[in-house]
């Protein structure tokens, strides 16, 4: 499992604590709770396992990396190895990799990637583009909230999206 460093608000470097502060703080505190004998002195160790979809998601990225110029039989751009690697790191990071809902990974004609989760409750799409910074789209079907913004802004919407995805 890969933990990306927290350097800048790109999806490569977004950590779980930034994406899902509530969930992350719960996991972290569970390993540091006082009054549990030796456990309190033990560094937090996640006992959760990556979801089964992770392997197929990484295979999908391998496939997308193989798309050459003009993969749409017109003028679509290939997806850069940097974006592929960033997406793999993001998906493999804890706790994104523990979500039960499998994301779909979709190429864009300009050589970008969309990571999409669609459930009864939410539509959540993260886009990484070679020509612009990463961004996301979130639609909460339970509240009607709709947000489209650069990744790194509206973190409360991102946290809500992942919380709802994690609760399934």
């Amino acid at each position: 499992m890969t933990y990306a460093p927290a350097i800048s608000p790109t999806w490569l470097t977004l950590t779980a604590s930034r994406l899902m502060p509530r969930l992350f703080s719960q996991a972290e505190s569970s390993g540091l709770r006082e009054g549990t004998g030796s456990r309190a002195a033990t560094p937090p160790v996640s006992t959760r396992q990556p979801a089964r979809w992770l392997i197929s998601a990484l295979e999908r990225l391998d496939f997308l990396a193989s798309l050459g110029p003009g993969w749409d039989e017109v003028a679509a751009q290939p997806i850069s190895l940097d974006l592929i690697t960033a997406a793999a790191n993001f998906l493999a990071s804890d706790p994104v990799s523990e979500l039960k809902v499998q994301p779909d990974i979709v190429p864009t004609f300009e050589g970008g990637l969309l990571i999409e989760w669609h459930t009864e409750a939410v539509d959540f799409i993260i886009e990484s583009s070679p020509s612009a910074g990463p961004s996301f789209y979130f639609l909460d079907h339970e509240t009607g909230e709709e947000v489209e913004a650069p990744l790194g802004e509206h973190l409360e919407a991102v946290a809500t999206a992942f919380t709802k995805l994690a609760s399934r």
Partner: protein, 135 residues
């Protein structure tokens, strides 16, 4: 001769590549096109569609839109009204004299308008069920 205007009640068939099909439990069949499929073409030309009214007038159906396409290609049926709601305009663009003719060429149209926003593309995608997938 000017083309007939496209009616809001018409449907625009869009060919969907297998890489652009995503899971969505909210739609019948549990699969639909990603918003990534509803952008202008990679060569900069406007998004291509085929108008159902003309396809039917040719004695064809939505199935014929993916004529010659391999397995897993799909057809999304976009209500023209949904495109108008997203500030798109649908313009008839019949193809004539193509080097590699397609049976639906007379029904070809283009969808002009800004498609940069993900919310716009995804709203179009949610309104456009897959009506056929090449077996």
């Amino acid at each position: 001769m000017a083309e007939d205007p496209v009616l809001p009640t018409d449907t625009a068939f869009r060919r969907i590549r297998p890489v652009h099909v995503v899971r969505d439990p909210k739609v019948p069949g549990g699969r639909r096109a990603s918003g990534a499929a509803f952008t202008d073409d990679s060569d900069g030309s406007s998004m291509s569609v085929y108008l159902e009214s003309i396809v039917l007038g040719l004695g064809l159906s939505g199935v014929d839109v993916v004529y010659g396409k391999p397995s897993s290609w799909a057809v999304a049926a976009i209500p023209v009204q949904a495109l108008l709601d997203e500030e798109q305009s649908v313009v008839p663009d019949p193809i004539t004299g193509a080097a590699d003719p397609h049976p639906c060429d007379p029904a070809h149209a283009v969808v002009d308008g800004d498609k940069k926003e993900k919310r716009r593309r995804d709203r179009i995608a949610r309104a456009a069920p897959l009506v056929h997938i090449v077996p």
